[in-house]
């Protein structure tokens, strides 16, 4: 049973949700595609495959995803890969192996994406986190 909003904030949330042009199935499908990215980030997944997982054309999918999450699917996939790479680098795995593990074929590309995302090169990040193990 739906409970009545108790605060001004909650009332505002409900109003915003009700006025959204997006339907429940839009949210469900992009969530599904997001789960797909979480699962297959280490593979060479392309946008057509991800859009297909959301049962949408590529262009429509990109537009809906951006409306829902505020970033493009490509940006989101990149963020997932950076987070996974950070975790792997902390384990001491060499940067070249981490690069392949998170779905990049090229170390320079991976290093650039990682630096843009974190402010550090993979090796610098690894070194910093090894010296501060807690």
């Amino acid at each position: 049973m739906k409970t009545k909003p108790t605060t001004f904030f909650e009332q505002q949330l409900e109003q915003v949700a009700e006025s959204s042009p997006l339907k429940a199935y839009h949210y469900a499908r992009v969530r599904q595609s997001r789960a797909f990215m979480e699962r297959y980030y280490s593979r060479r997944v392309n946008l057509d495959t991800i859009a297909a997982a959301a049962f949408m054309s590529r262009a429509h999918y990109i537009r809906i995803f951006q409306q829902v999450y505020g970033v493009t699917p490509r940006q989101h996939l990149r963020s997932i890969r950076i987070e996974k790479a950070k975790a792997l680098l902390k384990t001491g795995l060499p940067a070249t192996d981490v690069c392949l593990e998170v779905g990049y074929d090229s170390l320079p590309t991976f290093s650039k994406v990682f630096k843009d995302g974190t402010g550090h090169s993979p090796r610098a990040y690894q070194k910093a986190n090894k010296s501060n193990p807690e």
Partner: protein, 129 residues
């Protein structure tokens, strides 16, 4: 390059806030520097100890209390923290006696809830779905 180093929540009592943010929410104390009658007191996530610090900022400027109180009464969160599993976190925090002004609810692409930090603020927890 400029980066975000610290953000803050205003608190009425720094020691009480430190206890809540560490013992209940699970943050870790990072810095504590005496500054007159108050201190520079920050906490960080245990998962990102070199990440953005949260300053537990003493609410010493009286006019700001009016703003803080108005936000709290409207249930508007001062800030927002990310969690991986909101329902689990809600259960854990409720078990520790934390009061929620909004129970977990799905809003578009996220699930969110709002808790009372006992220091004058509504705090939002968000899980990306």
């Amino acid at each position: 390059m400029i980066r975000i180093h610290v953000t803050s929540v205003p608190v009425d009592d720094q020691e009480k806030a430190l206890a809540f943010y560490t013992e209940k929410l699970g943050f870790i104390k990072k810095t504590e520097i005496p500054l007159g009658e108050h201190k520079w007191l920050t906490v960080v996530s245990p998962k990102e100890q070199n990440g953005v610090e949260l300053l537990l900022e003493p609410m010493a400027f009286a006019p700001a209390r009016v703003y803080q109180k108005a936000l709290q009464e409207a249930g508007i969160p001062w800030t927002s923290f990310a969690v991986e599993d909101l329902e689990q976190e809600h259960l854990r925090l409720s078990g520790l006696g934390v009061q929620f002004t909004m129970e977990p609810k799905v809003v578009g692409p996220v699930m969110m809830a709002v808790l009372d930090d006992t220091c004058g603020n509504a705090i939002q927890l968000v899980q990306m779905l």
